[in-house]
């Protein structure tokens, strides 16, 4: 007896609830934009400049005491957050201290870091500093540019590839799906105020890669079926293709999600944001290749005269091949 995520020969009408699914996505995308505009992203030092110091101590983290010790140094905006993780030992207490970029200097000076470390050590003698990272405003500005360039560049390259391999309608469908996935991910990060840094950009690109992977498999089948069933209405061809590939879609998403969830739970807090973004992206990406990309293709319609024949006439059996 085999595990079947999807029964054989499904015939789900994926366009049946287009108003809810596609409409819902449009609403969510707009909501993401609104959230982004009002709340902004919680940029990490990669994009905003500044310094983060990770502290590790056997004593419990006292955020107020930490803050009180650092405030007199006059370093401007200081954020202190405690970090929790199932992989920590029982007496391991970790916090992240973040300091804004300092006026008139690029990366923070050795003296400043020494002062902060001394101040924190005065509060908690057992404290250690497993990592100190500092990025100057100059580099962080460039990193933002590069990140935007990377995401748009990746989307553009993929669209061109799909356009070459399929019809332009498919390329447009794919790009709408990608914008949907990236948009919703940014919206979620904005809503939850999760730290947005370079690793998240890598995650966004992974989402783009994964989502397109899924979309292409459906498109590939649709292309095959468009040739196979020459007179079947486009909506049925697309539905049929999605049904045929549904079990593969869920199977692959399933295995990928299993691996990612293991990483999300066990992989440690350093990459949790990154893994969270990818996990979320896989779910959204799978959804978008079923419910978004195809809808766009359907709206645009596809020219179907590959064989350069005139429009097929009434006999619906004439062109079906084995």
């Amino acid at each position: 007896m085999r595990l079947r995520l999807v029964p054989d020969n499904t015939n789900i009408n994926f366009f049946g609830y287009a108003k809810v699914t596609f409409g819902g996505s449009v609403v969510l995308l707009v909501a993401s934009l609104v959230v982004y505009l009002f709340m902004g992203l919680n940029f990490g030092i990669d994009f905003k400049g500044g310094t983060t110091i990770r502290t590790d101590s056997t004593a419990a983290v006292d955020v107020a005491a930490y803050r009180a010790s650092v405030t007199p140094l006059g370093l401007g905006d200081v954020t202190i957050t405690e970090v929790f993780d199932p992989t920590f030992a029982d007496d391991q207490h970790v916090a992240m201290v973040r300091i804004q970029a300092q006026e008139g200097q690029e990366s923070v000076t050795s003296e400043t870091i020494a002062k902060i470390e001394a101040a924190l050590q005065a509060v908690d003698p057992s404290i250690t500093f497993p990592s100190v990272e500092s990025v100057g405003p100059k580099v962080s500005g460039e990193l933002i540019q590069k990140a935007v360039l990377a995401v748009t560049g990746a989307i553009a390259a993929i669209v061109i590839y799909i356009w070459l391999r399929f019809e332009w309608q498919f390329a447009l469908g794919a790009v709408v799906a990608l914008v949907h996935d990236v948009g919703l991910t940014i919206g979620l990060f904005s809503l939850l105020q999760i730290k947005f840094d370079l690793a998240i950009i890598a995650a966004l690109l992974t989402i783009v890669g994964y989502s397109i992977n899924d979309t292409v498999v459906v498109f590939d089948r649709a292309r095959e079926n468009l040739i196979k069933y020459k007179v079947m209405p486009l909506i049925d061809v697309l539905n049929h293709s999605a049904n045929e590939t549904l079990s593969r879609t869920l199977m692959t998403s399933g295995t990928t999600l299993i691996a990612l969830i293991a990483l999300l739970v066990l992989g440690g807090d350093v990459i949790r944001g990154f893994v969270f973004a990818i996990t979320w992206g896989i779910i959204v990406g799978t959804y978008s290749s079923i419910y978004i990309a195809k809808n766009v293709v359907l709206m645009l319609g596809v020219k179907r005269d590959w064989s350069k024949e005139k429009k097929p006439t009434g006999n619906q059996f004439m062109d079906i091949d084995a």
């Binding site: 085999r2 595990l3 079947r4 995520l5 054989d8 990770r54 590790d56 690029e106 990366s107 050795s110 020494a114 500093f129 497993p130 990592s131 100190v132 500092s134 990025v135 100057g136 590069k146 360039l149 990377a150 990746a154 390259a157 799909i162 391999r165 370079l198 690793a199 950009i201 890598a202 690109l205 992974t206 783009v208 890669g209 397109i212 992977n213 899924d214 498999v217 590939d220 089948r221 095959e224 590939t245 593969r248 199977m251 692959t252 399933g254 295995t255 990928t256 999600l257 299993i258 691996a259 990612l260 293991a262 990483l263 739970v265 066990l266 992989g267 440690g268 350093v270 990459i271 990154f274």
Partner: protein, 553 residues
């Protein structure tokens, strides 16, 4: 029929075996690392029992390439420095002033007296007292121009001279600036490399980034501060004529002079001529030694041009004091006793033996040609890295086990084939990483875990297709064949698009992100290889042996 030519079979099996063999050293990471270090030392001519024992830890006929661990996994320090190339322009203008003065002074009757005006550091402004001689002065100074010493700037001249009334303005040409930038950066790279090598760390990575940046990554460095200490000890050595000695640091001096503190005599200051007689760049050797009185000192030697300048100056200024200046502090200001023709001399001062040794090392390593501004610095402690490795390993194993169970439940025997291929796939990724000497980072581990999830995709595509083909019933062999054939276009399209994103990530990203792109990209290549060739080979072997009438996928 279901068939793969024997030649292809051999090729597939060989590829897997070579790939896996390359991955094997990573299972014995510490042992192989010790072996490699020992072998490197022995190749450098060192040899002792401990090294021989370390070298014997790993048989030399086996591959010994390892995956480099990134800073986020191994711990270490990362610095991004910007070289202030404009500093060098100022130094160049400074050294040009004596030449300009001399060439104009030779024609004093036409141009009058020459004085230097205050100006921006990369501009030399000179006033002559007879404005009517400006045209001639312009000619004379232009005569000092040299062709730019670089391939791209060939034919261009190194300075641009203009006159405005009695004031001549001399600046460096764009071609000269470009050539200077290039030279400055090369020098800075070389000096940083030497200083870090002198500290004796393993595998430091020092790379140029863009026009004026240097990325320094040193695994094992305790902190970015420590690293900065190694690099930042600039040791700018100059020998400058002394104008006078004073105790007032704010004494007013001519534009051509500067006031510097004495190192060994607090409160004492020297007024020095800004233009050095010789600089540390012309120094070829420096060794710790002792002076006649047995006090620690440093012996130094100049290159021929430095030696000539030093010789001429000492010959002309016997009895006058001159200052040895290190990093804007006067180490000592001895009086010139005699003409020193050979270009070698001795620096004495109140040093300890340790200080004189350090000074000699600093002098030997050369001065950084320009200041460094640190744009980015990261320190990762080794424990944090080890925690990340452990967490990543556990996650990868759990993820893999779950995927295996899921695949076998879904596809039975074919699922088993896919998981064997998955194991080979992970091995091949490590083999490829070791082969190209790539760096594994924490996001890189995430990339491998992601690949474990996605690698089965190509197999799933094929298996689902075989299921479909089985329904149209042409016998299992034909179904398998068609399954592979018809799934191929989807597999290729899907993976090429993902590969495109991996390539873009690699090009645009740096550090950890690039590490992720590397494993993701390699993972795509190996997973397509294992899905199309390895599982197929396994299925063909099984099929030829069993010849089943029906199959269940």
């Amino acid at each position: 029929m279901l068939h793969i030519s024997p030649f292809r079979q051999v090729l597939i099996v060989l590829t897997c075996m070579v790939g896996l063999a390359l991955a094997v050293p990573n299972l014995f990471y510490d042992r192989v690392e010790h072996h490699n270090d020992a072998v490197a030392s022995i190749d450098n001519g060192l040899s002792n029992e401990a090294l021989e024992a370390d070298a014997a830890l790993w048989p030399s006929f086996l591959p010994s390439g390892l995956v480099n661990l990134g800073l986020d996994l191994r711990g270490g320090a990362h610095l991004l420095a910007e070289v202030q190339v404009a500093d060098v322009y100022a130094a160049t203008m400074e050294s040009m002033w004596p030449d300009v003065r001399d060439v104009l002074a030779a024609k004093r009757e036409d141009v009058g007296f020459v004085t230097r005006e205050e100006s921006e550091p990369d501009v030399l402004k000179v006033r002559i007292s007879k404005p009517e001689g400006a045209a001639q002065a312009l000619e004379l100074v232009r005569g000092l121009a040299r062709p730019v010493a670089s391939i791209t700037g060939a034919g261009a001249s190194n300075i641009v001279v203009s006159a405005e009334g009695p004031v001549l303005t001399i600046t460096l040409s764009e071609a000269e600036k470009a050539a200077t930038d290039e030279r400055t950066l090369q020098q800075a790279l070389e000096i940083i490399r030497r200083r870090i090598d002198a500290a004796g760390t393993r595998e430091p990575s020092i790379q140029r980034q863009g026009a004026d940046r240097i990325l320094i990554q040193v695994p094992g460095a305790k902190s970015a501060q420590e690293l900065k200490g190694w690099i930042g000890a600039t040791a700018q050595l100059t020998f400058q004529p002394v104008v006078s000695r004073t105790s007032d640091p704010d004494v007013v001096v001519a534009a051509t002079s500067e006031v510097l503190p004495s190192l060994d005599d607090p409160g004492a200051y020297y007024v020095l001529e800004k233009t050095p007689v010789v600089t540390g760049e012309e120094l070829v050797d420096a060794q710790p030694s002792f002076d006649q009185n047995g006090r620690p000192a440093v012996n130094f030697r100049f290159n021929p041009t430095g030696a000539r300048k030093f010789g001429d100056y000492t010959a002309e200024n016997i009895g006058a004091p001159f200052a040895i200046v290190l990093d804007d502090e006067v180490i000592s200001a001895p009086t010139i006793q005699s003409h020193i023709p050979g270009g070698s001399g001795i620096i004495t001062g109140s040093f300890t033996v340790e200080e004189s040794t350090n000074l000699a090392v600093l002098l030997r390593a050369g001065a950084l040609p320009a200041e460094l501004v640190f744009l980015e610095e990261r320190t990762i402690g080794p424990e944090l890295g080890q925690d990340s490795i452990d967490a990543g390993q556990l996650a990868a194993l759990v993820g893999m086990a779950a995927v295996v169970v899921f695949m076998i439940l879904s596809y039975g025997l074919f699922g088993l084939f896919a998981t064997i291929a998955l194991g080979i796939n992970v091995g091949l990724i490590f083999g490829a990483l070791s082969l190209i000497g790539a760096t594994l980072t924490l996001p890189g581990i995430a990339g491998i875990v992601l690949t474990i999830g996605m690698a089965v995709d190509a197999n799933v595509l094929v298996y689902e297709r075989i299921r479909e083909e089985l329904k149209t019933a042409k016998g299992p062999a034909r179904a398998i064949e068609l399954g592979y054939e018809r799934a191929l276009s989807a597999i290729l399209d899907a993976n090429i698009t993902t590969l495109i994103t991996a390539v873009i990530l690699w090009v645009v990203g740096s550090g950890p992100v690039r590490g992720f792109a590397t494993t993701l990209g390699l993972g795509i290549l190996t997973s397509v290889f294992t899905a199309i060739f390895v599982t197929r080979l396994l299925i063909v072997w099984w099929f030829q042996r069993r010849r089943p009438k029906t199959i269940e996928v």
